[in-house]
């Protein structure tokens, strides 16, 4: 039922989403921690920057990334100076773009969980001899696990569903940057509606299953 091209696109998409989710959890957690606890004036501007991909059209983000990561852009100059070449049209470039694009979907649930937890459990842990890192891993993380679950699911699903940014910087290279959403777009453009239906159906089923699982596993936020 699945052609090699479709299978390649699906595997590439899963690889991308998995890697991006792992990176986002690692990068997003400190950001969420800082945002949840800081009283700094910078909280507002940083929150706004993190949330930008929610409201910005992917074409805007994709365009800026294309320019910034290009040979004449600041990021491009840096990657070239480091001997890495430029990022557009590479899998690494897709990963970087997706990390930006899905960042709010990971940061916000974790930040909300940290905020809902409040200061008290950490204070309690401190009075029980736990140092800052100790408190973070033994109290903050387990108490915020629903937030992490939501963040992981949304980050993964949002990366799978990404289209505009990938289109802008991917270059549609089979096995490297041709993910499922782009593949579907190609099918529609080329009047190959049967293949478009197959892949679209898979995407729909996948997205629904993931979201359903999330809501079933995490029915209500339990407090106390």
């Amino acid at each position: 039922m699945l052609s090699d091209a479709n299978l390649a696109a699906i595997l590439l998409t899963l690889k991308l989403a998995t890697l991006v989710t792992v990176i986002l959890l690692l990068v997003g957690t400190p950001i969420a921690w800082w945002l949840a606890r800081t009283r700094s004036w910078w909280k507002g501007p940083i929150s706004a920057v993190v949330a930008l991909p929610i409201v910005l059209p992917p074409s805007v983000l994709g365009f800026y990334l294309l320019v910034a990561m290009g040979p004449n852009g600041p990021v491009g100059r840096l990657t070239q100076a480091l001997g890495l070449g430029t990022l557009p049209f590479t899998f690494a470039g897709l990963v970087v773009a997706s990390v930006f694009y899905s960042l709010p979907f990971v940061v916000q649930p974790i930040q909300n969980a940290f905020e809902a937890m409040g200061e008290r459990p950490l204070e309690v842990a401190a009075t029980l001899r736990a140092g800052p890192l100790d408190r973070f891993f033994t109290v903050a993380v387990p108490l915020s696990s629903p937030g992490f679950l939501t963040a992981g699911v949304l980050g993964f699903a949002h990366t799978v569903g990404e289209f505009g940014v990938v289109l802008m910087i991917g270059g549609n290279i089979p096995g490297v940057t041709r993910v499922v959403s782009v593949q579907i777009y190609d099918y529609v453009e080329a009047f190959e509606y049967a293949d478009a239906h197959i892949l679209s159906g898979i995407m729909l089923a996948f997205s629904f299953t993931v979201l359903l699982a999330m809501y079933l596993l995490n029915p209500t936020r339990t407090h106390k």
């Binding site: 204070e123 309690v124 842990a125 009075t127 140092g131 100790d134 106390k224």
Partner: protein
Amino acid sequence: MIRARFELAFPGFALDVDLDLPGRGVVALFGHSGSGKTTLLRAIAGLEKVPGGFLEVNGAVWQDATTFLPVHKRPLGFVFQEASLFPHLSVRANLAYGMRRVPAARRKVSLAHAVELLGIGPLLDRMPGHLSGGERQRVAIARALAVSPAILLMDEPLAALDLARKQEILPYLERLHEELEIPLVYVSHAPDEVARLADTLVAMERGRVVAQGPLSETLARLDLPIRLGEDAGVVLEGEIAELDADWHLARVAFPGGGLWVRDSGLAVGRHVRVRVLARDISIALTPLADNSILNVIPATVEQLADETHPALALVKLDAGGAPLVARITRRSAAKLQLQPGMKVWAQIKAVAVVG
């Protein structure tokens, strides 16, 4: 010995204390809400950073100009108003959380002892979500004990509980008091809790210490700036001297006298604490035989003072060494022409054994 100096000023709130507290027994930080007692307790714990403060606990400097020992390095136990158990850990794991982080050589309170003291043996395998409010708070106290603290700090641990739950926990707190050598600083706004538990009273108002001293002495001060109103009264320490089996009464003897109380099954020789409220004492110039009051004891008027209400006056009495405070109307005081040094009879309508 605890020496604490903290100064803090926020808009609408200031803390300015300079305290020497005994390093043993129970110190009650008493005051109305907003008096700064909780802030002071949190400053002692290090949960509140008060720049420029000074704190020394039993010879160890926890904070001065150059030192600020982080909370997790202070050998203290802290009990919050809400039990704040870790919801993802069982009772046993909650208890072990702090204990595991204390080097074995420094553990003085065993888990078994803490469990036994608070009577939580049957709860060990439960999750906090399945405990009653009183049980949760007992676990929280045991958890704080299990780190073998050099000092225990409690922030209104009973305030969130109803009366029945309070009654459930108070005996456990008294046991701590009696069985452990750990000094306890206890924040409360409830006079009955203070009367029952405290050895030393620190009264606070608007961020300042307004009175400080041994409990019975301090409670008997007529110039105590905190008006206790209906709760004004003294606490006397004594022991059960004799029992009257016919009438089910027990006599509590203290230096200079004694009071009959209901026999609640305490053995002769048992150390007890009784609380006598000012509103329950009336004054007579002669011992009247024809009334129902059981405890009529001779006393000397020491001092008179006005109560908040213009109809009332407070009279401090010396009953053979034991201080008493009576609340009577100013009209009665005038009619009896009460003066310091007068010999009178204190008629005590009610005495409560509080511990």
